[in-house]
């Protein structure tokens, strides 16, 4: 199955049509997330949205807060959160000094458009830059889900969270895109790309994404296939072989590993702290995922390395 699809369509998606979304929280904490977001967007030549999700005022006093904010506009004090987006734009320019179109863009807090509970910064001269800056207020998963649904994002890039267990379950279950969680991500560190390969359909896309990342970043690639029993079935073995064939066809060296044991525990132990994990999203029924979790959810809960879950 894997082989058929791969040989028929070498690149079965058009990277230029991809849309990535990076969620930032502050200049202080989100620098690595934004940097990786920009890097991954450039790897895929995808358009890049940056969203800041701020706290929403209690509904009781919501109108008083809005009244104050409108009054603050008269004093040229910008809406809280817009300064994070201003920082994000500045940071994106620094990260892509060669991008002349991006360099021309000036942030103007007056040029914002409010609709559907979101504030979108209108960027002049943004032809060719494909940057979107959006401010939302409310609960993180709810707002990210709305943004992804509204704009049709393919990948959401999110920083690690203290409340990891809750975050892992909610974002993987409810965000309708691929998810990249940057846990303890160190931009200076040289990671090894670790692809978790099995016979599921989601593995195909994760291999394609992994190949693009490996090519661009020059990171060594490892594939890991884990079987619960000592015997590796034809499906697992075939998927691993085809993955290797795909990397070979693109001139990327790959190390293959076959281990037995509990899949999640094996992934986590193998990943250690120096891998960048890519795995396919679960194909389990959503109700089963909700009740019992899934391999990606459990892996995300238990590991501390950056992890990309491809849907």
């Amino acid at each position: 199955m894997v082989a058929t699809i791969m040989t028929k369509k070498k690149v079965p998606f058009d990277p230029k049509s991809l849309k990535f979304l990076t969620a930032v929280s502050s200049a202080e904490y989100s620098k690595p997330t934004l940097k990786m977001g920009a890097l991954i967007a450039s790897v895929f030549d995808a358009s890049h949205g940056v969203v800041y999700v701020g706290e929403r005022a209690s509904e009781f006093h919501g109108s008083s807060v809005n009244l104050t904010r409108q009054n603050l506009d008269n004093w040229n004090i910008i809406h809280p959160g817009l300064e994070v987006l201003e920082w994000a734009l500045k940071e994106l320019k620094t990260l892509s000094p060669e991008n002349e179109e991006l360099a021309k863009i000036q942030f103007n807090p007056d040029h914002v458009y409010e609709e559907d509970g979101r504030v979108r910064v209108i960027l002049p001269d943004d032809k060719g830059c494909r940057i979107e800056l959006v401010l939302r207020e409310g609960e993180l998963v709810d707002q990210l889900r709305k943004e992804i649904q509204l704009e049709g994002y393919d990948l959401a890039i999110i920083g690690g969270s203290q409340n990891k267990r809750h975050l892992a379950h909610s974002i993987l279950q409810y965000l309708p895109s691929s998810i990249f969680v940057l846990q303890k991500f160190n931009p200076r560190k040289k990671y090894k790309l670790l692809l978790l390969v099995d016979d599921s359909m989601a593995t195909i896309k994760s291999i394609e994404w992994g190949a693009l990342i490996a090519e661009k970043l020059g990171w060594p690639v490892r594939t890991l296939t884990v079987s619960k029993t000592k015997r590796f079935g034809a499906g697992y073995q075939g998927a691993a072989d085809k993955a290797k064939a795909y990397f070979d066809s693109r001139g990327i060296e790959v190390e293959q590993f076959f281990l037995t044991g509990d899949p999640v525990r094996t992934f986590v132990e193998f990943a250690g702290d120096n891998h960048f994990v890519i795995m396919g999203a679960s194909t389990l029924n959503p109700v089963k995922q909700f009740l019992f979790g899934s391999k990606p959810i459990k892996t995300l809960e238990q590991t501390d390395v950056p992890i990309l879950i491809v849907r």
């Binding site: 701020g54 706290e55 005022a57 209690s58 509904e59 009781f60 006093h61 919501g62 109108s63 008083s64 807060v65 809005n66 009244l67 104050t68 904010r69 409108q70 009054n71 603050l72 008269n74 004093w75 004090i77 809280p80 959160g81 709810d142 889900r145 909610s170 279950q173 409810y174 309708p176 029924n285 959503p286 109700v287 909700f290």
Partner: protein
């Protein structure tokens, strides 16, 4: 597959609604009311407890919670549709509606720049004097025009000073917190000063009338409560400077830049004078005519005048007024009245007195401490006005002088210093993103102690003299 996820996501977002509905159905169908509580009163308590859960957890917009409280009274047979409708609208709701619209009308006049200049002229450039000026002016203004109006007008002044003091307000976190909290806490301590300081005061006046406790005029309220406002101002300044320790003792350069900014607005214009005069007329109406006409009707008359003179457009009022809050207070007062009429409030009061009476001998201390602590704690979780709407009927049934208990409750509802949700002024400064939740705790406990001591002093030393 996606529809399953949509359903699961809906369940995630609405889990508190589902929990509340299950709780309500369980209580209504499977729990017998206590023998000394009639079924209608028990149902009123179920509705109010369900509404409280929904208000705190916010799975629904406020207007939906308001509608829930209204239709459930009829569905559970507590009262008829017409009676529920007539208990829904009263002068307290008129006042909340009028004061929210007046806030929009006043804030849109741009008087904040005049206010900034006035404060700076009074205080000079020293930080402690500016903090004192912000606290005092916020307190005095809030006692007449409401804390949300004052906070909305003062926030730009405070933030502009902070930004002129340092490019990055986080680098002067102490100064930022001292200035912003002087606005929030100033407005909060001031909001108890007169009936028009906050909707909760008018809600209590409405309950006094509903419970047959008598009436209190605008000036009588001031006589009873204003000394506490004045007493708390200097101590609040001390607490803020002690807690947040501003990094700069002199704001010379920031003040000069602010004055240049404000001076651009030119001399005060006829339109601004008219806005001030109209508010003074409203204020005089509250002082001298509210006994006959009601505070709410006068507030609405004020809105009518602002609209008639073209000082504000209806579209603006319509867009910026929180109609959901108005509906919610109407519904909360309606269920509060049912708590009184069905005997639910009296039953809770009886349970409290019977149980706590074993620990505290003096009825006066028991009544006072229960009303203050219950109100103070709930204000920090819920919101000050909603707390009075819910707790008011219970504390008025605790026994003792209903007017004094009512004053203590209305005052204690302003003790929402510990969280950002209690008072609108606190929510407003929190929305700037420059103060943190823990800042409310750092200064809040000191303010809580100050206010408790002040209220104790007021009730023991001042009220007996009146």
């Amino acid at each position: 597959m996606n529809s399953y996820i949509d359903i699961l996501f809906w369940i995630r977002q609405k889990k508190w609604l589902l929990i509340t509905l299950v709780y309500g159905m369980f209580m209504h169908h499977f729990v017998m009311p206590p023998p000394d509580l009639n079924p209608a009163a028990f149902d009123a308590l179920i509705i109010i407890s369900m509404a409280l859960i929904l208000i705190v957890t916010e799975p629904l917009p406020l207007p939906a919670i308001a509608m829930f409280m209204l239709f459930m009274q009829v569905v559970l047979g507590i009262d008829t549709a017409n009676n529920v409708a007539s208990s829904f609208m009263n002068d307290a709701v008129f006042f909340i509606m009028g004061s929210l619209m007046l806030a929009v009308a006043i804030v849109s006049q741009g008087l904040d720049k005049r206010l900034a200049l006035g404060i700076i002229t009074l205080t000079g450039h020293k930080t402690w004097r500016i903090v004192a000026g912000f606290t005092a002016i916020s307190a005095i203004l809030a006692s007449f025009i409401g804390e949300h109006t004052v906070a909305a007008m003062m926030m730009p002044v405070g933030l502009t000073l902070v930004r002129y003091a340092h490019k990055d307000p986080r680098k002067v976190a102490g100064l930022t917190a001292a200035l912003l909290f002087s606005i929030a806490y100033g407005a909060t301590i001031g909001s108890i000063g007169t009936p028009s300081g906050g909707g909760r005061n008018v809600i209590m006046m409405n309950y006094w009338a509903e419970f047959g406790a008598g009436s209190v005029t605008y000036l009588e309220w001031i006589k009873y409560v204003y000394p506490m406002v004045l007493f708390q101002i200097p101590f609040t300044v001390f607490i803020l400077l002690w807690t947040f320790k501003p990094e700069q003792s002199n704001l010379d350069s920031a003040v000069r830049k602010l004055v240049v900014d404000v001076a651009r607005a030119g001399k005060i214009k006829g339109r601004e004078w008219l806005a001030i005069i109209l508010f003074i007329l409203v204020f005089l109406g509250w002082v001298f005519l509210s006994e006959d006409f009601g505070l709410g009707i006068i507030a609405l008359l004020g809105v009518f005048l602002y609209l008639s003179f073209g000082l504000v457009e209806w579209q603006e009022l319509n867009r910026k007024t929180n109609w959901g809050v108005i509906l919610l207070f109407g519904a909360a007062i309606s269920i509060g009245i049912q708590m009184n009429q069905t005997g639910a409030a009296e039953w809770i009061a009886h349970v409290i007195i019977t149980n706590l009476g074993k620990v505290i001998d003096s009825p006066a201390i028991l009544q006072g401490s229960v009303s203050v602590l219950l109100t103070g704690v709930m204000s920090n979780i819920l919101s000050s006005s909603a707390t009075v709407a819910v707790v008011g009927p219970i504390v008025l049934d605790l026994g003792g002088d209903q007017i004094l208990i009512g004053f203590a409750t209305a005052i204690a509802s302003a003790f929402g210093y510990f969280t950002a949700v209690a008072a609108p002024a606190c929510t407003i400064i929190y929305s700037s993103g420059l103060v943190k939740s823990k800042d409310f705790l750092r200064a809040g406990w000191k303010m809580g102690v100050l206010s408790l001591v002040s209220l104790l002093g007021l009730s023991l030393l001042w009220w007996p003299l009146l």
